[in-house]
Amino acid sequence: MSRHLRMLLALLGAIVLLPAVSVPAASSRPYAGVTVNVLTFTGPQIAEPLQRRGPAFTRLTGAKINVVTVPFSDLYQKILTDMVTGTNSFHAFVFAPQWMVDYVTPGYLEDITNRVKADSKLRWNDISPFFRDFSASFAGRTYTIPLDGDFQMVYYRSDQLQRAGLRPPETWDDYLKVAQALHRKDLNGDGRPDFGSCIAKKRNAQSYWMVWSVAADFLQSRGTSQGSFFDLDNFKPLTNNEAFAEALRIYVETGKYGPPDELNWDVGDSRAGFTSGRCALSIDWGDIGTLAIDPKTSKVKNKVGAVILPGTRRVLDRATGKLVDCTSANCPYAMNGVNHAPFAAFGGWSGGINKAAPARVKDAAYAFLSYMSQPAQANVDVTIGITGFNPYRVSQFKNMSLWVKAGMSSGAAKNYLGAIEASLNSPNMVLDIRIPQNQKYQQVVLDTAIAKLLAKETNIQQAMKEITDGWEAITNELGRDKQLQAYRSTLGVKR
């Protein structure tokens, strides 16, 4: 054969054989060529672990993960308008599970019940039953994968409280006393006076849960199914009575012992303030506990204690609207005569999938969210403060070595996990609202009214009226019976 013909045959052979050689590699990267657009909020929390683990996921499966972020105040409507208008530029979302109600009703979120059942790597049953129920399911079907578990707690500087001979606050009056005692003292040795209490109070951010952490224990005392937001019979808001007024009075007073620009402090600022040693007390989700051991930014490593949300010795009597003393009848779950109501604020960031995404992209998106939640990844991420992910799996609570390895002393780990577990196991735990348009009730009406109260534009009576009237207006627009039914079903109240 001529030399040219031989070369041509060799080339043809190579071309034919090449795909056969590369096929084995392709089957181990099932989503090669797929790009998944994930929408979440700016963070850096929540977005950080998604961005950090994206490349590893790409190496495993071939799918490219593209994380897009928007400010928290824009997230709800960005997700909704993307799906409602049919733009569908995002395939997966990491968002507040409360909003699931508004996304599932029109049929925009993918039902992942069967995928989850078939997914053994996810270790679904390792996830705490509460988060499986509240953060992932709606009307008996599963729509999201929990990535984070949420409870608000009070953090305190254990070293400063010890030095001053104070005990961790048990009631909100204790909280104010501790804040007052440590306000204007130098808490981090830099010569400048620091603050007794730092709470994120910025409007249009994530502050509207802090106020409910203070109020919930005044409003709910007979167990989770009593609910803390609305009356169970007529759906009237519980925001116009002596108890709520007292809660607001306390909340406003914390400002006396805080930084001068506390009204502009978002959670990033309050966390940074606490971990840089400038604050004696704070209210936050689990983040401060893990941020306190971050070697790069924390000045308070192993000087931080966490405690279940303080309570009250006087609670609301719903029949009269007055504050009454706690007795075994109206406060069956009181500890030391104090009614605690740990608030499962927000529910925990969870990942959902856009139903209108192409099938292969949905598969890839599910695989990514599952990957993020699997213990191999999740159990590391919940120990890192900057991720914004807090413990939600049983294995994360039981396995002390995870936390010690991350840098917490075993004492601090026991204290931190103990506070979360106490909240999780409390029979009087408060559920966040999951009724239609809950975002409007909280992020619009409540947030604005509290912002105005803190800015001294209104007084407590005016603020209470504003919240109550605003909530009633939304309820009347949407239908009182419908909202009441939805509220009862989320509380598990069957009447």
Partner: protein, 387 residues
Amino acid sequence: MLTDRNLRGTGSPNGPVPRLRLRLALAGWIDRQAKSLFLLPAVLLLVFLSIFPLILSVYLSLVRFQLVPGGFRFIFVGLANYRKLIVGIEREHFLGLLADPGPLIWALGGVIATVLLVFIIRGAARGTPAISGTAGRVVFALVAGTLAWLTIRTLTSGGRPGTLITTMIYVFVGITVQYWIGLTLAYLTSQRLPGRRFFRVIFLLPMMITPVAIAYTFRIIADLGKGPFAPAWRLLGLSEVSWVNYPWGARIVVMMGDIWQWTPFMFIVLLAALEAQPLELLEAAVVDGASRWQTFWRVTWPQILPVTSTLILIRMIEAFKIIDLPNVLTNGGPGTATESLTLHAFIAWRTLDIGGSAAVAYSLLFLVTFTALSYINLVHRRLAGAV
């Protein structure tokens, strides 16, 4: 085009035959329509991009957005969104908290009512275009009177201004200060002072900077515990103060940012106007022994009045739309103290209250149109026509 030469020999002594007349007429008509035809694409584009959204927004302001199984729908609610703003749940947010009228407020109200009444009567007596003129004046008096009454009742103690009044404060105070500072700087730069070319450039710079950067800068400056002046404030013992945590402090900081940003606009236009003055008039004034102030007041000021009037009109229409500074500086806070009308509409839109957002936006449209038309008819015509 058919000329006489072409027509020679084509018809009767009375002119071209009927068929030719038709062709002539048609050709003439096409010629006349040619102008409109060439403009048509641009006009269609304009209609599509501005008029169509305007009409759609009116529809949106009359509906409520609701999510339903399967998607969403718009429920027609008539004027409910507007009613909410003026008498309903959004009243305090939009108009503000009205203080109970005490004797001082009644007195001020009486003065305003008298002035407006005199205004109407004098206009009617002057006999300028009879009915339409008087009707216009009555409408003006009613709207201006209502706005003035609202302003008095919300700004006195016990009241709190809503987004409507806050926006008006931003516009009127802002423009006044911007104009006078701009005029001063322009006047100084138009003199033969050393370094005036350098300062001409420096004074222009703020207008080139993005509003977001300006908002952050002023926020840092206003926070006395941080920023470049913090050590000085600490010495004075004021480092625990933050302007933006008080309603009026925050409003003042927003206005400061706005003034800093837009004074260059006034400056550059007024500078051009000042330099366009004929030198002979100024020299004549000096020769006649006029002082500097007299020269300015008697010679320069009347000459720059038409420019001033136009400048203020342009800037005023733009100033009503302020959103970037209050949004970035304070998020509309503290509370809703610095929220402008556009920011109010934006926040409502962001919570998917589309009807409410459109209603606020249309209220802004009415306000701007009213103010601009009143300004043109009452002030601009007189000042611009003065020279």
